[in-house]
């Protein structure tokens, strides 16, 4: 069949999936340890508030900013010499590209990277600066992979499936070996899941050494490819959607990863965008690390109260990477702030004269609120011709302070104020209501 020719990759064959073996991971660890940073597994400062002994495996401290380089280095080192000289092609949405470019440059292997056009600028910039040839092609990862495969065939290069190649998964397994060494009492590991490579590797290693340790996977509820695949018991594809966790936004699962993980993963969780924003904010404010959306998913599951059974246990959350670009970072911070009630938006109608306007602003200032943004609308105002509508975004101390602001404004402007957004509207969900993935 022509489709088989185009998509066929001997290492990622759906007819012939290759499971990950523990011994191969141990070899990988020896091979990688001179180069890869053994990242710390730090206790959270909020262990008391979460009532669990939470530790963060901080993979953002790797040189390329994510755990992907473990896999990249392993697969490049295991290439036969002749293939190393000719070069490789991969398709990637970011972090694995950076990993392969970095080690390709170090090992002297020419690298071509095909990325979809939706790649964040900072990851693209990283690839350029590492000296690889970058081609922008395709609107999602699957299309880029197809293009990369045909490119490899045309030019006689080696195509590496950067998300599912067995050597790459072996490299990822070294992370689990480090966790077991650093936190021997670990009882549960929470892993972000994209195509499933990381969780397959982690589960393979951990269940081999410590079968009682739980392995949970977390996905974004917008693109639950792995989740649905586990439900249907076979790899399926889901439609793409925009996502804060861009590094795990893949519509397909890896065949090798799925084959390994399906019997080993204990539970899959789905988190929504608000929780991801909150966990990025939490990690910046309380732990002082910059973690990207995908890496913050394990903490999002904890914040969304999806894992109450893990309370009082030793839990390791893998913060898989920190390559977030400044626009997404700002957006996540603001989203997180608004979700917990520290940024509120409302509109007030006042008379169109300087005194009324300054009165409103002094009222707000006296309450200790900071006006971050304001917009005056003179045209689309209903009611009298001398009223203007002022839309304001204010910073507050916390949720009670925000509710107090609502009381103050409504008392002073009883008929013309409007608080539509969260936390004031009736669409607000109680924060302890956890949506459990069934």
């Amino acid at each position: 069949m022509s489709r088989r020719h185009e998509d066929f990759d001997e290492f990622c064959d759906p007819e012939n999936p290759r499971p990950i073996k523990y011994d191969e991971v141990k070899d990988a660890l020896e091979r990688l340890s001179p180069f890869i940073t053994k990242t710390p597994c730090m206790p959270s400062h909020h262990q008391r508030e979460f009532t669990m002994k939470l530790y963060y495996k901080i993979e953002s401290m790797q040189i390329t900013g994510s755990f992907k380089e473990r896999g990249s280095l392993n697969v490049l080192q295991l290439l036969p010499l002749d293939k190393k000289k000719i070069g490789v092609v991969i398709a990637s949405i970011g972090n694995d590209a950076i990993g392969i470019c970095h080690y390709g440059a170090k090992l002297g292997i020419p690298v071509i990277v095909v990325v979809p056009v939706t790649i964040p600028i900072c990851k693209l910039q990283n690839c350029y600066s590492l000296g690889a040839k970058v081609i922008l092609e395709g609107s999602n990862l699957t299309e880029s992979q197809r293009f990369a495969r045909s490119l490899a065939k045309d030019k006689g290069l080696t195509y590496i499936n950067a998300r599912d190649h067995p050597h790459i998964l072996m490299g990822y397994g070294t992370l689990a070996l480090e966790i077991l060494e650093q936190i021997p009492l670990v009882e549960a590991v929470i892993v972000p899941v994209g195509s499933g490579g990381l969780i397959a590797a982690v589960a393979a290693v951990i269940k081999h050494i410590k079968p009682n340790c739980l392995v949970y996977g977390v996905q974004s509820e917008n693109i639950p490819a792995f989740f649905k695949s586990l439900e249907m018991d076979k790899p399926i594809q889901v439609p793409m959607q925009d996502n804060m966790a861009d590094a795990i936004s893949v519509p397909n699962v890896g065949v090798n990863a799925f084959h390994t993980a399906k019997t080993l993963v204990d539970k899959m969780l789905l988190v929504n965008q608000d929780w991801i924003a909150r966990s990025i904010l939490h990690l910046i404010e309380k732990e002082r690390f910059v973690i990207e959306g995908a890496g913050a998913c394990p903490l999002a599951a904890i914040l969304g109260n999806l894992v109450p059974e893990l309370k009082t246990k030793y839990v390791v959350a893998i913060l898989s990477g920190g390559n977030i670009d400044y626009t997404s970072l700002i957006r996540s911070l603001q989203r997180g702030l608004s979700v917990i009630g520290r940024l509120v938006r409302f509109s007030v109608g006042v008379k169109d004269d300087p005194k009324a306007y300054s009165q409103l602003l002094s009222l707000i200032a006296n309450g200790g609120y900071n006006v971050v943004h304001q917009f005056q609308d003179r045209i689309w105002v209903e009611g009298s011709d001398y009223t203007i509508e002022i839309k304001l975004v204010c910073e507050t101390r916390n949720l009670e302070h925000a509710l107090e602001l609502k009381r103050i404004i409504e008392r002073a402007y009883p008929y013309s104020s409007e608080f539509e957004t969260e936390p004031f509207n009736d669409k607000r969900m109680c924060p302890c209501y956890g949506r459990v993935a069934t």
Binding site: P40, M42, H45, S60, M61, I63, G65, I121, C122, Q125, Y128, L281, I284, E285, R288, F289, V290, I291, G322, Y326, T327, L329, I330, L333, L337, G368, N370, V372, E395, T396, R397, N398
Partner: protein
């Protein structure tokens, strides 16, 4: 430690920080402090930075922002609290501080069951008041600036018989801060130089005492921000003098007069004082966020700022440790720093161009800009003050580029396609304003 008596302080006069009687701390104070505080203070990692190759030196970052309250101040606070006599512990402590010292004190006093009161001026950021309250301290908001807050704190101390603990000049505090130096020597034994942020001088005093005693050939540089050069002025006048503080990104270092004890300690042992410009601070914060993935506050990033500003060329090829002293930066300010940093690195560009006001005029401009891969952040239009043709509109565009070369590419494209255009940096440069020239370093 017995020779320091803790007497209750009268207003304005703190016997532990006496101008007429400055005290030097000794190495034994620092090493004793290390043992005293080790049970609860995190021995933070000192990791090699990813930026080392860019600057031609081995840069190590002492991550003291990983302490529980987010700054190194915990070391001194815990030391001082443990050393209080028993009756003082039951009566309680008080301090006036805008930031990290109050949090550190509240956290450890709560752990040691010592009642704490903290006085802050009303300009204190929301997050900091929240944090101290959550650690169990009694927070009083009083006064318009630190001076009034401090006066109020000292009068309360006298009234209620509490012990006032100065955040940077108390000898016990300085001894505690010095434990950072001991850890650095242990983690990076062949260090050549240490860059220490300087506010009141407590950290510099402690670290210099510790390191110079054990390894006197290690260079100790103090780094300050040019908006508050209190230590530099003190060094040139041979005694602490008061400096006007202007609002600064490094709010943790905004202390008008350095401590008397601190100055007496460091006068003869510090090798060099460096001052950095605020623009470099924003860039340093951006670098630390983007490349190391750490969130560091302005005061903590001054060491890195000095390196990227090129103020320490003599350290090329050497092993340099930068102390990242704290990470308590307000989230909104973080956003602003990132933007300022990006603007300074020419990755956020602002320019004006006059386009046709007919349908399609602005669409064409956008198409032109995005065709070279530049991402548009904001567009504003202005019609009233345009000279010339009535069918034109002046458009102000803020966009994100990959760097200076990309910005040049953008400028060439715009200049070739439109008659009237204006790139922000150049415009101000024409007026001869020195502040805007980003490569201008004021020492």
């Amino acid at each position: 430690m017995e020779r320091y008596k803790c007497e209750p302080s009268t207003i304005e006069f703190d016997p532990m920080c006496d101008k007429e009687n400055p005290q030097r701390i000794s190495f034994e104070d620092v090493s004793a402090a290390a043992f005293r505080i080790q049970s609860e203070i995190i021995k933070t990692p000192c990791v090699k930075s990813h930026m080392s190759s860019i600057f031609g030196m081995d840069i190590y970052l002492k991550n003291d922002f990983l302490q529980h309250t987010g700054s190194f101040k915990e070391r001194g606070a815990r030391n001082a609290l443990i050393l209080l006599p028993e009756e003082a512990k039951t009566r309680g402590v008080i301090s006036a501080s805008l930031g990290n010292h109050s949090q550190a004190l509240s956290y450890h006093a709560h752990k040691l069951n010592i009642p704490t009161t903290v006085v802050m001026p009303n300009v204190a950021p929301i997050m900091k008041i929240q944090k101290c309250q959550s650690y169990g301290a009694n927070v009083i908001v009083h006064g318009h600036d630190m001076k009034e807050a401090k006066y109020h704190a000292m009068s309360l101390a006298k009234e209620k018989n509490l012990t006032y603990i100065n955040g940077y000049d108390h000898p016990h505090i300085m001894a505690g801060q010095g434990t950072v130096g001991l850890e650095i020597l242990e983690q990076v034994p062949d260090v050549d130089a240490v860059l220490v942020p300087v506010g009141g001088g407590g950290l510099l005093a402690g670290v210099a005492t510790a390191i110079k005693h054990l390894k006197s050939r290690v260079l100790i540089y103090g780094v300050e921000t040019e908006k508050c050069p209190s230590m530099k002025e003190a060094m040139s006048h041979e005694e602490p003098v008061s400096v006007d503080i202007k609002s600064t990104l490094a709010d943790g270092l905004a202390v008008p007069t350095v401590g008397y004890n601190a100055f007496r300690t460091i006068k003869s042992i510090v090798d060099k004082m460096i001052t950095v410009n605020e623009d470099w601070l924003a860039r340093a914060i951006l670098r630390l966020v983007e490349q190391e993935k750490y969130v560091v506050e302005g005061g903590g990033a001054v060491g890195v700022a000095a390196i990227i500003a090129g103020l320490v060329p003599e350290l090329c090829g050497k092993k340099v440790v930068c102390i990242l002293s704290g990470g308590n930066i307000d989230t909104t300010i973080l956003g602003r720093c990132l933007e300022r940093g990006l603007a300074a690195e020419k990755r956020l560009v602002k320019f004006k161009v006059t386009v046709s006001d007919r349908p399609g005029g602005i669409a064409e401009l956008c198409k032109l800009i995005s065709s070279i891969g530049v991402s548009i952040k904001d567009i504003m239009q202005e019609r009233a003050w345009v000279q010339g043709d009535i069918f034109s509109v002046r458009v102000k565009v803020v966009c994100e580029t990959r760097g200076p070369e990309h910005m040049d590419e953008l400028r060439n494209k715009i200049s070739n396609s439109y008659r009237e255009w204006d790139f922000a940096g150049e415009f101000v440069g024409r007026r001869g304003s020195v502040d805007s020239l980003l490569d201008d370093i004021s020492h």
